[in-house]
Symmetry: C2
Subunit: 90 residues, 2 copies
């Protein structure tokens, strides 16, 4: 094996990450946000919809900066929920 496929947990984290960013965007348009973050609107949409589970650090950081979201808070939310899921599952 060389590059393990995304685990269900990774996919779940991706969805939560996207949902958090989407919520943080509020009423700002995807286009404006993407342009401000210097990424493609399609990429932002895929991240928000969870279709991209593990986006690049720079991509997330750029979007978070535009939306005034703390990366630490963002990861804490994603990881906290993930830990809860793991605890609930096992």
């Amino acid at each position: 094996m060389v590059r393990l496929p995304l685990t269900p947990a990774e996919v779940e984290r991706g969805r939560r990450l996207g949902a958090l960013l989407r919520r943080a965007r509020g009423d700002r348009s995807m286009l404006q946000t993407a342009l401000a973050a210097r990424i493609s609107p399609e990429t932002l949409r895929k991240i928000e919809s969870g279709r991209v589970a593990t986006p690049a650090f720079t991509t997330v950081a750029a979007v978070a900066a535009v939306l005034d979201v703390s990366l630490d808070t963002l990861w804490a939310e994603v990881d906290r929920n993930d830990a809860q899921d793991a605890a609930a599952t096992g």
Copy 2:
């Protein structure tokens, strides 16, 4: 074009990101850090050496969490230096 090659600026950011993580690791071993972050030692080494310019958000977050490094601070350092370079260049 479908996936733009890494720009020199991206590569530079990657090197600084790796250098910051490497400094934060201090005297902890790469192996222990990688295991704690649930990633491959090879991946950690490539990130620290800057050979991987834009690692996944989850990967960086996991390493930063193990090393007690703030993602916001980390990105601020990388982005601040990048802005300085851009200002110095252009």
